[in-house]
Symmetry: C2
Amino acid sequence: MTKGKDTKETILISALSIVSQSGLEGLSIGKLAQTVGLSKSGLFAHFNSLENLQLAVLQKAVDIFIETVIVPALKQPRGEPRICAISKNLFEWDRKFSGGCPFFSISAELDDKPGVVRDFLVSTQKDFVSTIANMAQIAITEGHFRKDLNPQQFAYDFYAIVLCHHHFDRLLNDPLAQNYYLNAFKALIKNSH
Amino acid sequence: MTKGKDTKETILISALSIVSQSGLEGLSIGKLAQTVGLSKSGLFAHFNSLENLQLAVLQKAVDIFIETVIVPALKQPRGEPRICAISKNLFEWDRKFSGGCPFFSISAELDDKPGVVRDFLVSTQKDFVSTIANMAQIAITEGHFRKDLNPQQFAYDFYAIVLCHHHFDRLLNDPLAQNYYLNAFKALIKNSH
DNA sequence: GACTAATACGAACGATCGTACTATTATTTT
DNA sequence: AAAATAATAGTACGATCGTTCGTATTAGTC
């Protein structure tokens, strides 16, 4: 009863690493089985379909994301401090995966592929954007941000520089990626005051 | 001699559409051959390898990008007008492909896959970022932008909101994506004065 | 220790992948 | 019109894909 859960955990961690590097397309049952030292059919039996495996991997990623990025931020005071904490924690999140944020890795490949996996991803991404917008709204009521700031626009602007950091860092290998991001974040906060 | 060029053109246009929707992973020789009405081997003979096909598709994308986005912008006055033209033309570029900007579609899947295709993509993306930075530099010397503006940082900020627009539009299907982008662009220009 | 359920394995399936050959048409050049 | 070349088709290959099935091994329960 507990053995199954353990190997399932091992499988998902391995799978997440693959997804982070090669996206969902790079996640094949045969390859994954080889990586974790199981037979193809043995691994398959845990999920009964590739789609279920993909969903389980995404759910695992969400769990780790919440635990790494969201929960610690909520321990900060309401408003601006929480947003700054999110920004900081995102670097830690990124560092957890050899290929960078797994959500980013699969966003592009799913954006024209309807199905439950895409639906799940979209749902989690919308949750994140909403979380940022909510935090911005709180920062307004707390008096940190100016009253005429649009929280949704803030979430967009924040998401933008996060996405771009990943792009400059992982694809372009620009050594200044983090500098650009930090400057942009500082400017975003400043313009929100 | 000319017949080959024609069918090659047809192939590349079809291939670009596929790549825009499903990325490079979605571009298979068999499927593409079926789409354009050729036999697998007949199509293969045009490129002699999948890698060459991918490179040709990317080169075609670059050609169209320059013709759609860059060249018209260069007809505008130096400095800020050119940057605004780029911003406007990018929407036209996006509209040319059913799946959105093909470069975006393949960025994530290539960022951990070394090879000539990745090298080519990185090279073109760096070219684009440099082009934006150069235009920002010109806008400074023309007196449109403030003297202490960092052109590279401007290019990053600009790239960020473009990326994010694609994300909000294609993945999240947010009807306000364009609004967010236009607001962000307006703010970026304003803060550069 | 016996029984049962969970877990893993091995082999095979149809399908598709990129690629390599050879043969057969079209097209261009002489 | 004949010869030469380019373009396409046909077939087959090894590999890998997700999935199914039957069987063997392991683990937990009584």
